[in-house]
């Protein structure tokens, strides 16, 4: 029987044991470096021989990147903490259940045991053509194969597409945006902390990247402030299969009510664009309004303003409208309108 020994292209493999060494390696190897966290996204790219990094930095031995700690105001989750640990953490369950709900809907039990929170938020775009190695815009070429009359684009973007129409498939990211999380990044110049929604970038900023990480940058942790602890949360993920699948779309909201009216709210969706979208205009429009089906309806309509469907993803517009509506007025009160 044939034995496949070289399952992937050759590269220099590094196994640092500290954040400092990992960051230094990423800086030294700059554009040639590839970061491997849980390895799930990496393995596909490498085994398919689509991406051929010269240096691979395996973070599995960096203990400092693992675990969930209580900090002054909230919690800090190491980037290499597995999704299963996030789901089972008692503090997350009690105070930040939105993140637990989102993490529990990622892929399958096996993948959540191996996959990390840092990897989930930093995974690459989902697009058949890009992932199959076609020389598209995102891959450095000058064409989009999905945005054509016959392209397979049922899973693709309805908002903020700019040449590339691929989407960000992360489930944890919109939950982190709704919780106003902060991403901690180690850079050659020291530590940098950014708001969750500013971690992600679309093709209008850089068509080949999904986030602000530059050569020599390492995402080390995600902090969740106590601002939204114990708020009213809503997370929903819509996918073709109820397990393993990436979202066609998902929505996350955190809300604080004062009587019947919405005092504070944050909402984000993913699967609609190349980056998870915080719906700031919707938040502003519903603040102070009663938490009612009418408010949900108005929010849903506002959320999809400017959406542009491709040939096969027109369904995503009512999907997003209804998900946003549900995230505000709940499932019971909302009726599905096509």
């Amino acid at each position: 029987m044939a034995v496949i020994r070289d399952v992937m292209p050759a590269f220099q493999l590094f196994q640092p044991t500290s954040i400092a060494d990992a960051q230094k390696l990423l800086e030294q190897h700059a554009q040639d470096a590839w970061v491997m966290a849980g390895g799930l996204d990496s393995f596909d790219w490498l085994k398919d021989r689509i991406k051929k990094p010269k240096a691979l930095v395996d973070l599995s031995g960096v203990e400092e990147l693992k675990g969930i700690r209580t900090i002054n105001d909230g919690i800090e989750i190491g980037a290499m903490t597995t999704l299963t640990e996030v789901v089972r953490n008692p503090v997350i369950q009690q105070k930040y259940g939105l993140l637990g709900q989102a993490a529990e809907l990622v892929a399958s039990p096996q993948i959540r045991n191996q996959g990390t929170l840092g990897g989930n938020v930093s995974q690459d775009a989902r697009c058949w053509y890009y992932r199959a190695g076609w020389p598209c815009y995102r891959a450095g070429g000058n064409i989009c194969y999905a945005d054509t009359p016959v392209g397979r684009n049922r899973e693709h973007a309805i908002l903020h597409a700019e040449r590339c129409v691929a989407v960000n498939p992360s489930d944890s990211s919109p939950a982190l945006i709704a919780l106003d999380a902060k991403f901690v990044i180690r850079t050659p110049k020291g530590e940098r902390v950014v708001d969750a929604e500013d971690y992600f970038i679309g093709p209008d900023t850089d068509i080949t990247r999904m986030n602000i990480l530059q050569p020599g940058y390492l995402l080390t942790a995600i902090r969740i402030p106590s601002t939204w602890a114990g708020a009213r949360f809503y997370f929903e993920k819509v996918r073709d299969r109820n397990v393993w699948d990436f979202p066609l779309m998902n929505v996350a909201s955190a809300m604080v009510l004062s009587g019947d009216s919405i005092e504070r709210i944050r909402i984000a969706v993913n699967g609609a664009a190349a980056r998870p979208l915080r719906l700031k205009a919707v938040e502003d429009a519903v603040r102070g309004k009663p938490r009612s089906p009418a408010t949900g309806e108005m929010a849903g309509r506002l959320a999809v303003q400017g959406a542009v469907p491709l040939q096969f993803n027109g369904y995503k517009i009512p999907l997003m409208r209804n998900l946003v509506k549900r995230s505000i007025s709940g499932v019971q009160e909302a009726t599905w309108a096509s």
Partner: protein, 167 residues
């Protein structure tokens, strides 16, 4: 300094790991899949390659008590780890309660998914000795079966849980 952390990936390296309670040392390429090392070097062919991309779960093994897809684990990440495969479940010729329950309930047909299914069930019952049907379905949700329609498999896991509780 950091160069010393580098490993030649086209060279064989000694990797020690505990498999089914026995310490094993293999010579493997660091990015070889744990699945291939188990099957080809250690002769443990219970874990199967179904899809090779994490959808089917037929390569499931326990790695430090966590259920993982061994087709997506580079052996370097299994260094010094404690691995349990389906071969490690029976005590000699005495089958595990789960294996007996799968036999009795008709939870195995072609058998390709069975090793992964049983390990997923084993992993579930360790955390939840008396799972609800919903919890069984969730616990097995990373494993595909194309023969049984799952009903007998879910029954087998419930039966094993009952037998363990009675024992």
């Amino acid at each position: 300094m950091t160069e010393s952390l580098s490993l030649e990936i086209r060279a064989l390296h000694e990797v020690s790991l505990t498999v089914n309670g026995e310490l094993k040392t293999v010579r493997a390429y660091p990015m070889e899949r744990l699945l291939d090392v188990l099957r080809h070097q250690l002769g443990l062919t219970g874990a199967k390659e179904g899809c090779g991309e994490g959808e089917c779960g037929s390569c499931s093994v326990l790695l430090n008590d966590a259920l993982v897809n061994s087709c997506l684990v580079p052996v370097l990440q299994a260094k010094d780890a404690d691995i349990v495969t389906i071969e490690g479940l029976a005590a000699g010729v005495q089958l595990d309660v789960l294996q007996e329950a799968f036999l009795k309930s008709g939870g195995a047909q072609c058998g390709i998914c069975t090793p992964g299914m049983i390990l997923a069930a084993h992993h579930l019952l360790r955390r939840k000795p008396n799972p609800t049907t919903e919890e069984i379905r969730e616990g097995l949700s990373g494993n595909l079966c194309r023969c049984t329609g799952y009903i007998q498999i879910v029954e087998a896991v419930a039966e094993a849980a009952r037998r363990r509780a009675a024992a």
